[in-house]
């Protein structure tokens, strides 16, 4: 029989450990095309499944519904609609952030992009708002989702 009350609170009862985890991730055929088009041509690409009449954004090599291998990349433009949004008040580590950030799922074709909304006070953002991607200058783009600075209202 043991009792938790027998513990000496000054004794070493814990050990702290950590692990440096560093990985490489392969974009894959479909996402590589997506990021290269964004970097070099300033375009957002989707991919079409004619069998399901769906255009996936970001593109995928295969249709998750019918498993057809997809090849028909399409330029879906830089515009979309706010499908849902939130205002985040936390940093990644849980601490309070100095500047609340509007984050939205911007619907484009049958998919979309998760990104920041800027250029408008947070309380004026609404579901259904039309927004457009603002890209970094070509020379600064690296083939990343951050090649889009943010989405801003238009029209």
């Amino acid at each position: 029989m043991f009792s938790p009350f027998s513990i000496n609170f000054e004794s070493p009862t814990q050990w702290h450990g950590d692990l440096p985890v560093t990985s490489r991730y392969t974009a894959g055929i479909a996402l590589e095309r997506f990021f290269i088009a964004l970097r070099d041509e300033g375009k957002i690409l989707g991919i079409r499944c004619s069998r399901c009449s769906k255009t996936y954004v970001p593109p995928t090599l295969f249709c998750p519904q019918c498993l057809t291998e997809l090849q028909e990349f399409v330029d879906v433009g830089l515009h979309g609609e706010i499908y849902t949004y939130t205002i985040s008040y936390r940093n990644l580590d849980g601490s309070l952030s100095n500047a609340p950030q509007v984050i939205a799922f911007i619907k484009i074709a049958d998919g979309g992009i998760i990104h920041k909304i800027e250029g408008i006070p947070p309380h004026q953002v609404f579901i259904g708002m039309k927004v457009a991607a603002v890209l970094k200058p070509t020379a600064e783009r690296s083939g990343s989702i951050l090649d889009i600075c943010a989405f801003k209202p238009f029209g």
């Binding site: 990985s23 974009a27 970001p58 985040s88 998919g111 979309g112 992009i113 579901i127 989702i145």
Partner: protein, 384 residues
């Protein structure tokens, strides 16, 4: 209805915001001893197979499944670990008994959340590395996006979500195992800090430590034991696409599919009429409401009135999360499903103390693995 597999023992240790005195192994050992005593079985002699659920990053140990046998009495016995909620583990054990591989099995799930120093980073690490991680957002933004879309589609307000918080934390006051019981006024809940608008700090289940062990047995064994068997009438599980970009933000189709699978097996055509009470996911208050709709226990347009009328209160027509739910018991990570299952077993046995319903026959338990997952499990239980 089929009565082939029963729950014959439950044991748990906790739940507490911290457990500085026990290691996770000791927590599990305590819960296991209680479950085996509850079922009146000898783990070394009687239990033929063991299932545990765990996730390495949460445990802080690689290949964590190697660390699970000794504290359960599973050394040199058939056992395996799956990454899933405790209900997924329970369903795995159920399937082993149904298939005839064994006649008596134990399932374990636990949380040593107080030892995790960087939970938000671990959750962040579950996101798509190229599409979502580069922003370094706090991962609760996903709950914020989902909540906003659900409120928009269902014409639900943040005040309705505050009612869920109030109910579950009040229910927890009647549950001696729930550390987060409190009688809040609605204004206190609504005046809380926003985390990811419209999601407030008060809408989020706070972490807790604990361990749960459940013993299952085939019909012939269950009927020979002294404890009243609680029958598993139906099980279901389902996953949606993991991409945030392809997600249906206003609904939980994976919860609906998991429930339909369980209803079909349990031969339940109208769940809202057959189910006496339910323990459903409430890691975020809005998720309880979304889950109730997805489970077919209420329609979207009936929901606002049902909330105001107290339909889901302990004295209401369909009591939900009598245990206090995750808001009241705490977020027990992979053990959330089993914590809810324990409540259902206690209710059906008539052992739920001050929160006991009068003669419930059928209870439903549903769990979700939390953000960013699209993973659901449903179990339907019945008293003898």
């Amino acid at each position: 209805m089929e009565r082939e597999v029963a729950i014959v023992g439950v044991g748990w240790e906790g739940f507490q915001p911290t457990t500085p005195h026990y290691s996770y192994k000791e927590l599990i050992y305590q819960a296991a001893q209680k479950a085996y005593h509850n079922a009146n079985v000898d783990p070394r002699k009687d239990i033929q197979s063991f299932v545990t659920v765990a996730e390495d990053f949460i445990e802080g140990t690689s290949i964590f499944d190697e660390y699970t046998p000794d504290q359960l009495g599973a050394v040199l016995k058939p056992m395996h670990t799956i990454t899933g909620d405790g209900l997924h583990g329970l369903i795995t054990a159920y399937l082993m008994i149904r298939s005839g591989i064994c006649k008596i099995a134990a399932v374990e799930a636990h949380s040593k959340a107080s030892n995790i120093k960087t939970l938000s980073q671990i959750t962040h690490y579950a996101l798509d590395p190229m599409l979502n991680r580069p922003f370094e957002f706090h991962p609760d933004f996903i709950a914020g996006l989902e909540m906003a879309r659900f409120l928009h589609e269902a014409h639900i307000t943040p005040e309705d979500c505050a009612l869920v918080v109030q109910k579950n934390r009040r229910n927890a006051l009647e549950n001696p195992s729930a550390p987060y019981g409190f009688d809040y006024r609605l204004e206190e809940i609504q005046d809380c800090q926003p985390v990811a608008y419209p999601l407030l700090e008060s809408h989020i289940a706070q972490p807790a430590d604990g361990a749960i062990v459940v013993v299952l047995a085939s019909r012939e064994i269950a009927e020979s034991l002294t404890v009243e068997p609680i029958w598993i009438l139906g099980v279901g599980w389902c996953n949606d696409m993991y991409n945030l970009e392809y997600r249906d933000w206003g609904h939980l189709p994976y919860v609906t599919k998991a429930a339909q699978m369980a209803y079909h097996q349990a031969q339940i055509q109208t769940p809202s009429k057959k189910i006496d009470f339910a323990e459903v996911d409430d890691l975020y208050a809005y998720r309880e409401l979304m889950s109730l709709v997805a489970l077919g226990l209420i329609s979207k347009h009936e929901l606002p009135d049902a909330l105001k009328m107290g339909k889901f209160h302990s004295t209401g027509q369909l009591p939900i999360n009598l245990s206090g739910g995750s808001l009241g018991m705490g977020n027990l990570l992979e053990a959330n499903g089993l914590a809810k299952l324990v409540e259902a077993v206690l209710q059906l046995r008539g052992q739920a103390g001050k929160r006991q319903l009068s003669f419930p026959h059928i209870g439903l338990v549903q769990s979700w693995r939390g953000i960013p997952t699209s993973s659901a499990a449903v179990v339907i239980l019945a008293s003898s």
